[in-house]
Symmetry: C2
Subunit: 438 residues, 2 copies
Amino acid sequence: MLRIITQIAEATTELQRISDRTHNQQTEGKEVAVREILKTVQTEGDQALLDYTEKFDQLTLTVDQLRVTGSELDAAYQQVSKELIDAIALARKKIEAFHRQRTPKSWVEFGDNQTVLGKRYTAVDRAGLYVPGGRASYPSTVLMNAVPATVAGVSRRVMVTPPGADGKVNSAVLVAAQEAGIEEIYRVGGAHAIGALAYGTETIPKVDVITGPGNIYVTLAKKMVYGTVGIDSLAGPSEVLIIADHNANPVYVAADLLAQAEHDPMAAAILLTTEEKLAQEVQKQVEVQLENHPRRTLTEKAIAHYGVAVVVKSLTEAAKLSNLFAPEHLELEVEDPWEMLNLIRHAGAIFMGHSTPEAVGDYLAGPNHTLPTSGAARYASALGVETFMKHSSLIEYSHTALDDVSQAIQTLAQAEGLHSHSESVRLRMSKQYDQYKC
Amino acid sequence: MLRIITQIAEATTELQRISDRTHNQQTEGKEVAVREILKTVQTEGDQALLDYTEKFDQLTLTVDQLRVTGSELDAAYQQVSKELIDAIALARKKIEAFHRQRTPKSWVEFGDNQTVLGKRYTAVDRAGLYVPGGRASYPSTVLMNAVPATVAGVSRRVMVTPPGADGKVNSAVLVAAQEAGIEEIYRVGGAHAIGALAYGTETIPKVDVITGPGNIYVTLAKKMVYGTVGIDSLAGPSEVLIIADHNANPVYVAADLLAQAEHDPMAAAILLTTEEKLAQEVQKQVEVQLENHPRRTLTEKAIAHYGVAVVVKSLTEAAKLSNLFAPEHLELEVEDPWEMLNLIRHAGAIFMGHSTPEAVGDYLAGPNHTLPTSGAARYASALGVETFMKHSSLIEYSHTALDDVSQAIQTLAQAEGLHSHSESVRLRMSKQYDQYKC
């Protein structure tokens, strides 16, 4: 049952509790285990991957079996429907089109006295994409991670994903990978797969950036290897916050809340509405739509623990609560969503109006569905082409230009006690060393 | 003494050793200590800050003394020379001008059937800037962190820095902070100050992003709180790699190597040159310039452990070695640096030609001096305005636009076993619920 709260103080506390549901997890025991796994992968390489696959996936593999073969890649197309292949291809096309817009471009500016300043953008050399197994083995995850890497121009793109009980990788995942331009795929998952990407093994290359969601072990491993490699973010359970006014349709709102709750028993589904009647109607509709839900138990659990409908006095109050929560997904099911937008400060993605369910963005509108969770939208953004690129600052000074600022640099360097910083400028200004070459 | 290596295999091993000098540090004991400190700050707030300041800085403070007062801020201007104030103001101006270029801008695109897609950029609400004490208490650090936060439009900007033995904060640091628009400054440093910024205390506000360098305890604390707040990067000891040809001046090269080495006994200073004679001359010049160096012991130590001159066969070979190292700072002291640039893949900042010592970028050319270290330039970039901003994806679909992709979304959602994702679209397409409002 979706609870309804009408007191703002209670709502604030409740949203804080939901927001903190992962921050307050005790993970120290798991951290010890993950640290051990990473160390073992670093020292033992492939053998460690085989051992952990045996232990955690109950599957005996040889080194040669780690990589998904060309014939498995080909066969995947036979194992999914034509309709699904087309839907994956359509999604890829639309995701790529969006990600190609406003990608970072190198630039230089010419200043006085022949100075040049700029930024030079380049792709990382190698990217590793983690795709979860089991309940969360989704072709859409593959597209949302692989397409930006391809658009960025990453020359080596590698995927790891845990094998099923039969040793196979989900066919739809394999099709999505190929549609997005990834053919180097290893059937290995868990914290040990993150170790393989971070340190490299005999079979799996060390990469520069690791992206993709995973369970708590994968997330802890990503946090530990951050600094050795780059990572996209630390993904927590998914969340939606819907702001709805008198104009909203309770059937749609209920479906959107459930579409979040069905991901995970820890998923959060929050409604803020100015209409008490709407809250009640949504509560009813949630029950109706849960009736024959194939993931009913899991979804009910999420709604019970991390679902809530809050009746607010105004859309301004709703925006304030939303900004405190900083949701991953924000739906504005209100009469004028563009006006409401001015009140919003933090959200991973914002879905405008009544005909934009989160699902359209999850799959194919174009923007990335890998978004900051657990309040991280206060400071973080969607995964994007930038995740797979970096820039170098460019600086060129002429002798004259350096002369102009030489005193200021020496003053600053001396104030900081950095003698050679000062000397590196002073010596260049001294005629004595001007032509001092070998 | 700066070692000279002429064998490429030895050079590769040596550069790898230098690159890994921080990755292989055993930090587990320190991690336990830092975790304990963070937990104590989270539960005890201000009192923990006072206790740790007493313990680590041997200084007894009261809660009221944590914040630097208005009169201290005013007095700072009396305690530094006019020349230094002017140099700080000049640096601020030039750093700001560079950072104002190409800042992220919000955008939307209108598509078929009244769809709208875009990205909406906003600043974080609160930023916390860490400024180290002691040897590394630099006004330039303040400018390089504070100016981008100000340009981004962060409304609350807070600085923390450990107090000296007399309880005071470095006057030049206080001047730089004010020039860059920061007036909320707390005299507290170390891992506990990071905890204060991440969780908030009675006196210090919880922030959204923490930036700035620090010792190993500060860096470990930043890594641990990452996910609760955003961070800029995990800074390691500084490094320069200089590529020099027959055109280079050994006096300049030696000064630039020493300008890196003088930062820290773990700083790295690497020369790659096509000219064996230049390597020998630089080796001599390093000794000459070390003679009356005020930080001679520390600087010699860095040169001995993490300094090296490598004689390479060609600039192409130099570029390959440089790309493997992915240096924080790269100086191209060669005849045609812009041609050489095409061979470079990874570097935090690139200094072009003979009149661009790293010091010009460290202080006032404009680009940020907070750069990726320890090989992180393979995937990371300079601190910038982006560090203090984030974006929300914007998606708006019309009923017609949703209708167009409705089947594809349902196909994908069903393939992923996400019933309500599918339903959230199907129900919107069904006339039955069209006008179903409260």
